[in-house]
Amino acid sequence: MAGPTTDPRAAAAPGTPVPTRRGTEALLLVFAVVITLAAQCIVDLTVTGSLRPELATFGIWFTALWTVAHVVVRKFAPYADPLLLPCVAVLSGLGLVMIHRLDIADPDAGADAPVQLLWATIGLLLFVAVLLGVRDHRLLSRYAYILMLVGLVLLAIPAVLPASISEVYGAKLWIRVAGFSIQPGEFAKICLVVFFAAYLVDKRDVLALASRKVMGLEFPRGRDLGPVLVVWVVSILVLVFERDLGSSLLLFGIFVVMLYVATERASWVVIGLLMFAGGATVAYQAFGHVQARVDTWLDPFAYYDGSGYQVAQSLFGLGTGGLFGAGLGGGRPDAVPIAKSDFIGSAIGEELGLFGFAAVIMVYLILVERGLRTSLIVRDPFGKLLAAGLSFAVAWQLFVVLGGVTGLLPLTGLTTPFLAYGGSSLVANFGLVALLVRISDAARRPATPHVAPQRLTDAPTEVVQP
């Protein structure tokens, strides 16, 4: 976190207004909507040979969605980063198109794309609510411990609920009530990132400075390991009770990286990796489902008739796609079970090929880069850590999911952010982006006219301003 920052405000000559870049954002949003609509038309034309009348409704709805988002940002976060929203628009648009494309492939299963559009609308409402409700991201650090409690409760609910309500495909991470299924872990992720940021800003001096040197690396004192141990235990508990490899990996990874960012000490990463390796080994020995996941990861084709079928089909799909893909609507992405949620990556890889897949990953990369850049230029340490944590959460989740789809990592139950079918994931990630937009607005906003410094000279140490 230390080190010189590249602060765009410093370059602005005195008197010249800092550009808000809202026009750029609007243009890119139009581009994103055009891409989505083009994709939708191509799918319909390729599969059915004609355009559906529903396309007009979809187009108007989708355009309205991003118009509202843009207007709200223009009004309430005028200096926000111009790339965050367009990236999210392209990703969620492509997700909707792929889900629609899989709907067409399997007409008996019922249409999921309209439901997903509804979830995107709810997500947008959350986006607006967060932007309106959180006028200054620093206020969040006041509620850090409450958010931690909320996060832990959200994580724990599915574990406590009976399996009939909470279990889907063997993982107990759902709340299914009256036809709706919610994955509270996605919301818990954001709450916990906020808590980690506030906690680490408070404690980073202790975590960074008090240390012993062992083999060239500076290791923290035993008692400072406490919080890491707690998070580690929580993520292992999630693994045990909810049988969810993904959430526990996500949680632990985010915490270790935020610790590293806060303290600039590589030893935390080493400790994290060691603890993870230990936990993973024990989990592998103790739990059958972890063993099964690892075995199918090592050799999916050996379990082709059983647990490896999904990964094997996904690999076939990616192979069929090749460099340029089968074209939208030209492949058979429905051959992969649950392609809409877990394996949307393989559907995209098959229809758009390596080039399309890489483009999608690139869009994520831009999103994450903007988040990390926000973290670099924002001034307050809480905002820095929060932005870094949120952007890393997106990157890490994407890595774990796409690693699973492409056979690089064992399969986990995580969803591809913004792309995959699944309400809670989409809504939660809209909330996450709203926080990033809020922080980036604070980061790029020109400094307010200088007010005379308060008399703080009597206070010898850092004054905590929430």
Partner: protein, 153 residues
């Protein structure tokens, strides 16, 4: 659908996707070039702008020679320079040993003085702990936590 049209869709859409990425990169680039400050920062205009014509002698820049901000240069004007962790300092330190308002450099008749503002860990001018205002001569190191500064003409 004719095969040629399908192929057109196939490659056209990939092209469209990558065009979006190039558009995004252009924005990133504009942001980087517009905002390039690097390690060499000049004082915010509020400190430098109203300065009268500088006399030829006397120090002109404050250079950070050690610590995380090493390499940062600040052009000296007439205004005092606040050093500390507080956001509104002229030189914002990210040093864990620095206080939020740590020290101040003031210009009196072309000469620069350093003053400690009641910091926890103290300010040192050439091994000597700064109690009252001390005259700084060019090249003399000022130490604040892990950061060292000196004046250069």
């Amino acid at each position: 659908m004719a095969e040629i049209v399908l192929q057109g869709f196939r490659f056209g859409f990939l092209l469209l996707l990558w065009l979006f990425i190039f558009a995004a990169f252009r924005v990133v680039r504009a942001d980087l070039l517009g905002g390039r400050v690097g390690r060499v920062t000049s004082v915010p205009p509020r400190a430098a702008a109203p300065g009268k014509k500088r006399s030829g002698k006397g120090p002109r820049t404050l250079v950070v020679t050690a610590g995380p901000l090493s390499g940062t240069k600040i052009t000296l004007g007439e205004q005092p320079i606040l050093i500390g962790r507080a956001d509104d300092s002229t030189l914002v330190l990210t040093d864990d040993f620095a206080s939020s308002r740590h020290a101040r450099l003031t210009n009196r008749g072309g000469q620069w003085y350093v003053e400690d503002l009641g910091s926890t860990n103290g300010t040192y001018l050439d091994q000597q702990r700064v109690q009252g205002p001390l005259l700084i001569s060019p090249g003399q190191p000022i130490r604040i936590g892990q950061t060292a500064l000196e004046l250069r003409s």
